[in-house]
Symmetry: C2
Subunit: 107 residues, 2 copies
DNA sequence: CCATTTAGTTAGTTGACACTTACGTTAGTT
DNA sequence: AACTAACGTAAGTGTCAACTAACTAAATGG
């Protein structure tokens, strides 16, 4: 989770992720989109995105094709959602505790 | 945007954010929840969350009360959503370009 | 085998980040 | 004014991340 958020914190990695969102691309073609950074840097970014499971790799001879892992991205959205649902659940627990409290003090 | 993602990448900050999600809390009470870190460190985390506009501050005498900024959190979810809608739009643009291409070569 | 293409890896530098300790600041209290 | 409570801020340290340059590895073709 930490890994995924930290990976997305880097603008360059977000761009890479968008590039491989709809189409599968080899590292060279990804690197070619950036003129102010070396292939090595892009390769390392890809490594970070791969570690965060935001992209997946498919090998084809000497080439390695990358594409976004939509599932992981969806998981992040769900995590953000939990901030709402999670807090609602906590409120519900509080309410239930209050109910029990009433019962114990009563009997 | 970078700031917000980087702020969320830290587990401690995510905990702080959850603490002030439903209730407004002073710094001291937030710091009291953690026994393995100093008040100063918590204060700095709060500073990062504030810079990312994930929490807002309200002053009351010598105390400063914090609460989560739900709007900013919603913005992050929308950003993640754009990865889908955005790519759909790009596909649509491609389709439209192809249509125009047909027209120009034709006439 | 040798050269080429495609891509990952390592070494080293620079800058950012999390943390602690110590100090400064503002609002109440006596 | 002096004291206390509740915070933030500055300085210093260890660790991690991003980047470049140079090297290595695997597949392909003569």
């Amino acid at each position: 989770m930490d890994t995924a958020f930290r990976a997305l914190a880097e603008p360059r990695r977000r761009e890479i992720l968008k590039l491989v969102w709809t189409e599968e691309l080899p590292a060279a073609q990804i690197a070619a989109r950036f003129d102010d950074v070396t292939r090595s840097a892009v390769s390392q970014h890809i490594g970070v995105l791969k570690a965060a499971e935001l992209i997946v790799e498919r090998r084809d001879g000497t080439r390695r094709l990358y594409r976004a892992n939509h599932t992981q991205m969806d998981r992040l959205r769900q995590f953000l959602d939990e901030y709402w649902t999670g807090s609602l659940q906590r409120l519900q627990h509080l309410a239930e505790s209050a109910e029990r409290e009433k019962g114990t003090t009563d009997g």
